[in-house]
């Protein structure tokens, strides 16, 4: 079995001679197994990740079939859980992978997430992203976030926008880089009812997911020797470009004041 496995990854040997061992032992958490998360799960499995914690409470529906990697019509008929579809995809690529699927929201499985070496966030909403980042910071876990949206602009063609962010404990967070603001958190917090279904398409999810996976591999193998700070890439789906967000130029990004690097681990409450 080992010789078969070695041959499988020979085309990615440029990552370094210890890379495959590191990849296989890194535990990844994927929160959200929809359009973005399903891509990430598939790609991580192809690259050789073996330890997965995957969370999503939803079942696959027909509105997901335009983008849910691995989903089939039969899955829709049977109301299959998204985590079961992702598990099947991962195990189909790598039968030796250890997959821990949880068909619940991430808040229900904090101990499993604390054990992850990297967390991918593929969910909607600023508040959830803020919460996952805060949690990841507290337990010293690099957090990679992806998301996309389609905006109507009057009579103009719709605009597709998205982001891929690496939030590394000790370095600029999503507040520092201006992705999370008091304003966007407040607007979401005071909104009544469901946000409704956001437009989502597979090719944009694919660009963002692939970039996130590439970043994760660089993070754990350091193959490029160039990843040394917060990453905030903005995706323009109209021009098909992924570029460093403009706001990165104007911010002092050396140290994060929101999550001091010594305030990590289980919190230290003080008596009043």
């Amino acid at each position: 079995m080992k010789k078969k496995m070695d041959k499988r990854y020979v085309r990615q040997s440029f990552l370094g001679n210890k890379a495959q061992a590191i990849i296989s032992k890194t535990r990844v958490g994927i929160i959200g197994l929809g359009g973005g998360g399903s891509h990430i799960a598939q790609q991580l499995a192809h690259v050789g990740f073996q330890e997965f914690v995957i969370l999503d409470p939803d079942i696959a529906k027909d509105v997901n079939l335009n983008r849910l990697v691995g989903a089939t019509e039969e899955d829709i008929e049977n109301g299959r859980l998204k985590v079961d579809i992702a598990s099947r995809v991962i195990k189909g690529i790598s039968s030796t992978a250890s997959v821990h699927p949880f068909s619940v929201t991430w808040q229900n499985r904090l101990n499993e997430l604390k054990a992850c070496d990297i967390i991918f966030g593929c969910i909607d909403g600023f508040i959830q992203r803020r919460d996952i980042e805060a949690f990841s910071r507290r337990f010293l876990i690099p957090y990679i976030d992806i998301g996309m949206d389609v905006h109507s602009v009057g009579a103009e063609p719709p605009r597709i926008a998205g982001q891929m962010i690496l939030s590394m404990p000790g370095h600029a967070c999503m507040h520092c880089i201006g992705f999370l603001t008091e304003d966007n958190l407040a607007k979401e917090g005071t909104r009544y009812g469901d946000a409704g279904e956001n437009p989502q398409v597979i090719w944009c999810n694919g660009v963002l997911a692939s970039t996130a996976v590439g970043l994760a591999i660089d993070l754990i193998t350091d193959w490029s020797k160039s990843l040394r700070g917060t990453v905030y890439l903005s995706y323009d789906g109209n021009t098909n470009t992924l570029t460093p967000d403009n706001r990165m130029k104007y911010r002092d990004l050396k140290v994060c004041p929101h999550y001091p690097i010594h305030e990590v681990g289980e919190p230290n409450f003080q008596n009043i």
Partner: protein, 113 residues
């Protein structure tokens, strides 16, 4: 953020049987009030509270519960969050104006009567 000492003492004195502690995350101070008991009819009868007396997510103050509490009136439990590494729930309760730490807290708790 620092709160006036007399207000903090008032908060402490309002819960004489509970050892109140505080901690900070992302620049926001939270007060942990453990094992607070509720009026008869609430289920569960006692939970931990995490009080956030400063603006967060569009609310000028918010109260988080370690478990959702069933009370006489239907509450909109729209907060399911993780703060300080632990899961918390909150119902939506509008406060028009903040007063003292304790008064604001009790305004929110009134929903459980």
């Amino acid at each position: 953020m620092n709160f006036p000492e007399e207000q903090v003492n008032e908060l402490k004195n309002s819960f004489p049987d509970n050892e109140i502690q505080k901690c900070e995350e992302a620049g926001i101070v939270y007060f942990l009030i453990p094992a607070v008991t509720f009026p008869e009819g609430c289920v569960p009868n006692a939970v931990d509270l995490l009080y956030c007396p400063t603006p967060r997510d569009g609310y000028i103050a918010r109260l988080f519960f370690s478990e959702k509490v069933t009370a006489k009136q239907n509450l909109n439990w729209n907060g399911d969050t993780v703060i300080l590494g632990r899961r918390w729930f909150a119902y939506s309760w509008r406060i028009d104006e903040k007063t003292t730490l304790v008064n604001t807290l009790f305004v929110i708790l009134r929903a459980l009567k």
